[in-house]
C-alpha cells in the first residue's frame, strides 16, 4: 500500500520520469530479501555467542547465592590439598593406564580412578566434614563448580565432581605451542620459497598440493597420527607414553600448515614488485632480497597467518581426541599425555546429563574457546591489515 502511494507521489511530481528508474516491486523485494539474507551471517555470529554462553550461565547465577560463603571458601582450601594428594598418588596410575587409552573407551574409567583415589584420601582428611556440609544443597554443586574452576583437578564424573580447567588450559597451550613451533617455520619458509625462488612450474605443483592438504578431513589426519605418526615418533625419540602432546602437536601442525602457508604466500606476493626491483638494482642478491626486503615488508601478514594458525590448532577437536592421550595433566613435559579444552567438550558432551553442572561447565569451556578465537581473528583482521596496508603503500 505505502509503496503504491509512494510511487504515485513520485510520478505526480512529473520531473523524475526520465532521470529516475521506474519502480519495480520485484526489484525492490529482491534487494530487501538479499540484504536480509546477507545480515544472516552477522545474526549467526551473535546467536552463536548468545546460545553457547547462555547454556553456561547457571554456574554464575547460582554461585551468587550469598549463604555459606565461608564454608565454600574453606572448601576451596581443602580441594587444593586434595589436588596435591591426588596428583602424587594418582598420576602414576593414570599414566600407566593411558598407554592404552585409545584402545578402549577408557576416558570415563580413568576419571573414575581419579575420583576414587581422591575420595579415599579425602576420608582421612579432617576437613572432610565441612566439605560434606557445603555440598548439601543443590546450588552448592554449581557454586563448588565455579570455585573449583581455577584448580587443576578435572574430575567431572565422581561423587564430588570438581571442574578445575587449569590442567586443560595448560594442556591446550602446550599443544598449541608445539604445533606452531613446528608448523609456522615450515609453512613460512615454504611460502617464501614459492613466492621468491620457485619457478612457475614448481609453483603450480606446490600450491595446489598444499591446497589439497587444506581439504584433508581432520579425522583423517588424526587417524594417520594415531596409527603411523605416533609409532614413528616413539621409535625416533624413545619416550614412554605413545600418545602425548608432542604427537598431537605435530599432527595439528600438519592441519595448520595450509592455513599459515596460504595467508603468508598471499602476504608475500602482495608486496609490490618495486620493492623487489629496487633491492636487486642496489646489488642485493635474490636471497638477500627475499629475506631482508620482502619478508620484513610482509611481517604483519605473516603475523596474521600465525594467529589464524593458532586459532585453528586451539579449537581442533578430532586430532586432539585421537592423538593426545586425553589425560588431564599439569606437567610441562611435551612427552606426557594431555587433554585439551576442545577435546574435553568432544569427549564428554555426549555422555553428560543435559542441564547439570557438568553440562554447563562444558559450555563455559566452549565460550572460552569462542572468545579466544574471536579475539585472535579480530586482531588478525583489524590491527594487522591496517598495518600491512600502511607499510606497503609507504604511508
Amino acid at each position: 500500500m505505502t509503496k503504491e502511494t509512494k510511487r504515485k507521489k513520485k510520478s505526480e511530481s512529473g520531473l523524475i520520469d526520465i532521470t529516475q528508474k521506474k519502480f519495480r516491486l520485484s526489484d525492490y523485494l529482491a534487494e530487501k530479501v538479499i540484504k536480509g539474507v546477507a545480515f544472516l551471517s552477522i545474526t549467526i555470529v551473535v546467536l552463536i555467542f548468545i546460545f553457547v554462553f547462555r547454556e553456561s550461565l547457571p554456574i554464575f547465577s547460582n554461585a551468587k547465592a550469598p549463604e555459606k560463603t565461608e564454608l565454600a571458601s574453606r572448601t576451596v582450601e581443602t580441594q587444593e590439598t586434595y589436588g596435591e594428594v591426588t596428583d602424587k598418588t594418582a598420576t602414576a596410575e593414570v599414566q600407566e593406564t593411558y598407554g592404552e587409552v585409545t584402545d578402549k573407551p577408557a576416558a570415563g574409567d580413568v576419571q573414575e580412578t581419579y575420583g576414587e583415589v581422591t575420595d579415599t584420601t579425602a576420608q582421612t582428611n579432617p576437613a572432610e566434614k565441612s566439605y560434606t556440609v557445603s555440598a548439601g544443597s543443590g546450588n552448592d554443586d554449581n557454586r563448588g563448580a565455579l570455585k573449583s574452576l581455577l584448580t587443576k583437578d578435572w574430575v567431572p564424573v565422581s561423587e564430588k565432581p570438581r571442574y578445575g580447567i587449569l590442567a586443560l588450559i595448560i594442556g591446550t597451550f602446550k599443544i598449541t605451542i608445539i604445533s606452531i613451533l613446528f608448523a609456522a617455520p615450515v609453512a613460512i619458509l615454504a611460502a617464501l620459497y614459492t613466492a621468491s625462488f620457485a619457478s612457475r612450474r614448481m609453483k603450480e605443483i606446490i600450491k595446489p598440493t598444499i591446497e589439497l592438504l587444506a581439504g584433508f578431513p581432520s579425522v583423517v589426519i588424526g587417524f594417520f597420527a594415531l596409527m603411523v605418526l605416533a609409532t614413528f615418533l616413539q621409535n625416533v625419540f624413545q619416550y614412554d607414553t605413545r600418545l602425548n602432546s608432542f604427537v598431537g602437536g605435530i599432527a595439528m601442525g600438519i592441519a595448520a600448515i595450509p592455513i599459515i602457508f596460504t595467508i603468508t604466500e598471499d602476504a608475500l606476493t602482495a608486496v609490490p614488485k618495486t620493492f623487489n626491483e629496487a633491492s636487486l638494482a642496489l646489488g642485493a642478491s635474490k636471497w638477500q632480497t627475499a629475506f631482508f626486503v620482502i619478508l620484513p615488508a610482509a611481517t604483519p601478514g605473516i603475523f596474521a597467518a600465525v594467529l589464524l594458525g593458532i586459532g585453528r590448532v586451539f579449537g581442533e577437536t578430532m586430532i586432539a581426541l585421537m592423538a593426545t592421550g586425553n589425560a588431564a595433566q599439569m606437567g610441562l613435559n611435551p612427552f606426557e599425555s594431555v587433554r585439551t579444552l576442545a577435546a574435553t567438550i568432544g569427549a564428554e558432551m555426549a555422555e553428560v546429563v543435559f542441564g547439570d553442572t557438568h553440562y554447563n561447565v562444558l559450555f563455559l569451556i566452549g565460550s572460552l574457546l569462542f572468545i579466544f578465537t574471536f579475539i585472535l581473528n579480530a586482531i588478525a583482521e583489524f590491527y594487522v591489515k591496517g598495518k600491512l596496508m600502511k607499510r606497503i603503500q609507504g604511508k
Binding site: 528508474k21 519495480r24 526489484d27 534487494e31 530479501v33 538479499i34 540484504k35 539474507v37 546477507a38 544472516l40 551471517s41 555470529v45 546467536l47 552463536i48 546460545f51 553457547v52 547454556e55 585409545t102 578402549k104 617455520p185 615450515v186 609453512a187 619458509l189 615454504a190 620459497y193 614459492t194 625462488f197 595446489p208 598444499i210 592438504l213 581439504g215 584433508f216 578431513p217 581432520s218 583423517v220 587417524f223 596409527m227 600438519i254 600448515i257 602457508f261 642478491s285 635474490k286 636471497w287 638477500q288 586459532g311 585453528r312 577437536t317 578430532m318 585421537m322 567438550i345 568432544g346 558432551m349 543435559f354 562444558l362 566452549g366 574457546l369 578465537t373 574471536f374 581473528n377 583482521e381
Partner: protein
C-alpha cells in the same frame, strides 16, 4: 671473488632451506596418502561399500556411513548454497565497497570461518536441539519428544552454518570475475538491477557457485566435531528415513572404530578402508574444485 663465493654458498643454503620446507610439506602429504592407500586398498570391494556392519561392527561394510554422509551433505548444501550465494551477491552487487555494513558482514563471515568446529556443535545443541527443537515439540506435539533430540536435520543445519563462509568466499570470487562491461551493457539496455543479476551476472558465475558447493561438500563430508552431539550415531540398524532419525557418518565411523572399538587390531582393515573411502571422496571433490577455480582465474586474467 672469495666474498662472492661465500655469498653464493649462503644463498644456496638459504634457498635450499626454503626448498626443503616446501618439499617436507609435500612429503608429509604424499606419505599420508600412500600409507592410507596401502593400508586400505585390499579392503575396498563392492561388498564393503554396499553392506551393513556385521558382528558388532567387527565385520561387514560401511554402507550406512556412506549413505548418511551423502544425505548430510545434500541437506547441508540445500541450506548453505542459496544463503551463501545471496550473501555473496549482496557483498559484490549491492553493498558499497567501504560501507560499514559490508565491512561488518565481511568480518562476520571471516569470524564464522575461524570459529572452531566444536563450537558449532555446541551451538547446534544449544540452539537447534534445546531451543528450536524443544519449542517445536511443545507447540506441535504437546511436549512429546521428537525434535528436541539429535537428528539428521539439526546436524545438517549445523554443518550448513559451518560451510556457509566457504560458499560465500568462492561465489564472491566468481562474481568479481564477471566483467563490469556486461553489467553496464545490460543496464543500458533497460534491464533492472535484479534482472541484470539474474540473467547476466549469475549465469556468468555458475562455475564459481559450483566450486563453492564442491568445497562446502568436501568440508562437510570430513568434519566430525560439529555433529558429535547433534545427530550422529555409533550404529543404526536402518538407514535414516526421516529428518528426525539419527545417522552414521564416515568420519565419525573412523573415530569410533579407532578409539571406542572393543578390538582395535581386528577392525584395523575396516578403519583403513573407511579412511581411504573418506580421503578419496574429499580428494576427488577438492581436485575438481581446484581445477574449476583454476579455470575461473584464467578467465579473469584473460
Amino acid at each position: 671473488m672469495i666474498k662472492s663465493f661465500r655469498k653464493n654458498i649462503k644463498g644456496i643454503l638459504i634457498e635450499g632451506l626454503t626448498l626443503s620446507s616446501a618439499l617436507l610439506i609435500i612429503a608429509i602429504i604424499v606419505v599420508m596418502i600412500v600409507v592410507i592407500v596401502i593400508g586400505g586398498k585390499n579392503q575396498i570391494s563392492w561388498e564393503f561399500l554396499t553392506s551393513f556392519p556385521k558382528d558388532g561392527m567387527t565385520k561387514g561394510g560401511i554402507f550406512p556411513a556412506i549413505y548418511g554422509t551423502a544425505l548430510l551433505v545434500i541437506i547441508m548444501s540445500v541450506a548453505a548454497v542459496p544463503f551463501g550465494t545471496i550473501t555473496a551477491i549482496y557483498l559484490t552487487e549491492y553493498a558499497k565497497e567501504n560501507a560499514i555494513i559490508a565491512k561488518v558482514i565481511r568480518f562476520a563471515v571471516r569470524t564464522l570461518a575461524v570459529i572452531p568446529s566444536i563450537i558449532y556443535g555446541l551451538f547446534g545443541l544449544g540452539f537447534f536441539i534445546k531451543f528450536v527443537g524443544v519449542q517445536m515439540d511443545n507447540t506441535f506435539l504437546g511436549g512429546q519428544l521428537k525434535w528436541g533430540q539429535p537428528n539428521i536435520l539439526w546436524a545438517s543445519l549445523t554443518m550448513a552454518l559451518l560451510t556457509l563462509p566457504v560458499v560465500i568466499v568462492s561465489v564472491e570470487e566468481a562474481l568479481k570475475t564477471v566483467p563490469k562491461d556486461l553489467r553496464a551493457a545490460s543496464l543500458a539496455l533497460g534491464a533492472t538491477k535484479w534482472q541484470t543479476i539474474w540473467r547476466v551476472v549469475l549465469p556468468g558465475s555458475v562455475s564459481g557457485i559450483m566450486t563453492g558447493t564442491i568445497l562446502a561438500v568436501s568440508r562437510g563430508a570430513g568434519e566430525v566435531a560439529p555433529i558429535l552431539f547433534t545427530g550422529v550415531a555409533y550404529y543404526v540398524a536402518t538407514l535414516p528415513g526421516s529428518f528426525s532419525d539419527q545417522f552414521m557418518v564416515l568420519g565419525y565411523h573412523i573415530y569410533v572404530m579407532t578409539t571406542q572399538s572393543a578390538n582395535v587390531d581386528q577392525t584395523l582393515p575396516i578403519q583403513f578402508g573407511t579412511t581411504l573411502v573418506l580421503l578419496a571422496l574429499t580428494f576427488i571433490l577438492n581436485i575438481s574444485a581446484i581445477i574449476l577455480r583454476y579455470r575461473i582465474r584464467k578467465k579473469k586474467t584473460n
